[in-house]
């Protein structure tokens, strides 16, 4: 059981860190670009919100299988497939939780407003400098929301991890797939305990998110 919890926590933590790194530049670009086609990119980034997780899982599984063009590129490095591995789970989770990072970050970046960024520019700050010293600090609420949402959403994913990871005990089994296999084998008592644990976890994270957000929302005095 501790193994399952550890895998779940590790998956959620790794996904959260990687996704914040990947989604931040994307969200910044979506918030600030004036390109007409940016909403096409925005829609693609939001697709995982409406796609069935099994569809995401299916495509990721195909892409990570030994015969895919992507994996063929990695064959010389001794990597045959990432399907049914922890790395595969991380890749699936990145797609699955992408909108949960992009959306709060984009909203936060959009709310910064032009005057502060223009002011930094007149003080001699170039684009990257403005992003790091004005964009990120003024969007800290967005980062907190994104981190909490991605983490809890990744803990709660089922379809993708089952498709990509197969729920192999000790390797790719996470809490949600464990509950499924417990129910399949009619171990309702154990399933109850895990399910209740996840309800408590979800409540605590959401409460924490709201409290942190309220604190950060206070004007800086």
């Amino acid at each position: 059981m501790t193994m399952v919890i550890a895998t779940t926590a590790e998956l959620a933590a790794v996904t959260t860190i990687l996704l914040l790194l990947l989604a931040t530049p994307l969200a910044w670009w979506l918030a600030r670009s004036t390109a007409w086609w940016k909403e096409i990119v925005g829609a693609v980034a939001a697709l995982p919100l409406v796609l069935p997780p099994t569809v995401i899982g299916f495509y990721v599984l195909i892409a990570l299988g030994p015969a895919s063009p992507l994996m063929t590129l990695l064959h010389p490095f001794g990597v045959r497939t990432l399907a049914f591995t922890f790395e595969g789970l991380v890749i699936g989770s990145l797609f699955y939780s992408l909108p949960f990072a992009v959306h709060p970050l984009r909203t936060a970046f959009e709310s910064i407003g032009e005057p502060s960024l223009e002011l930094a520019a007149t003080m001699g700050a170039g684009p990257l400098d403005r992003f790091l010293t004005v964009g990120i600090p003024l969007a800290r609420r967005g980062f907190v929301s994104a981190a909490i949402l991605v983490f809890s959403h990744t803990v709660g994913e089922f379809g993708v991890v089952l498709m990509v990871g197969g729920g192999i005990p000790g390797r790719t089994e996470v809490l949600s797939t464990r509950i499924y296999s417990l129910v399949e084998s009619l171990q309702f008592g154990a399933a109850h305990r895990l399910a209740a644990g996840l309800v408590v976890f979800a409540f605590v994270t959401l409460l924490a998110a709201l409290l942190v957000d309220r604190r950060l929302n206070a004007p800086r005095l």
Binding site: P115, S116, E118, L119, A120, A121, T122, M123, G124, A125, G126, D129, T133, V134, P137, L138, P219, R220, L221
Partner: protein, 230 residues
Amino acid sequence: MTIAVEIAVKRATRTAPPFTLDAAFEVPAHGVTALLGPSGSGKTTVLRALAGLDRHAGCIRFDREIWQDGSHFVPPHRRAIGYVAQGTSLLPHLSVAQNLDYAERRAPAGHSVRQDIVVRTGIAALLDRMPARLSGGEARRAAIARALVGRPRLLLLDEPLSGLDGEARAAMLAQLAGLLHDSRCPVIYVTHSADEAECLADRTLTIEGGRVAVACAPRSIRPAAGISGG
């Protein structure tokens, strides 16, 4: 050394009458040049173009440097300017001292003028405050200090006294006159108040009806400040 501006702006919106501005002037790159005109006349538009915050058709030249022409555009962070916009012109997430740090760290090489500026703008007691905790007048003084600490080659001020009245305004006007004179930095000073222009400026340009006129005489006490071209 002169600052030359030649920009044309045409803006049509559904809600407001169309806005056109043909600003062409050349002023000496020293002393204070007031840009005087009623609100909505395009003063801020000219100032923002000088800062590089907006790009309109035309040319802008600072001394021998082309800041903007048909093919070339120097972005604001490479212009080494100081810009004080209307309202609170400070970064909201940094204290007054941190705002000064921010400007100073990105300033062109040179001697720090920070100590002197802090004392002369009277913001020594405000250094630890966040911008949200400053009164209107305090925020203006801090913003002007912030702009000067960056050792700008050109200082752009947009209505720095608007919203202040009575004693506070008079006091700051006197303070500003001394500061701007001693900074040895050319200043473009946008205002709608003729007496501010009279009190601070070496020369005044008026904007009205979408055109810039180089009508007002330079102040007599500084005869060196003349207007070349137009």
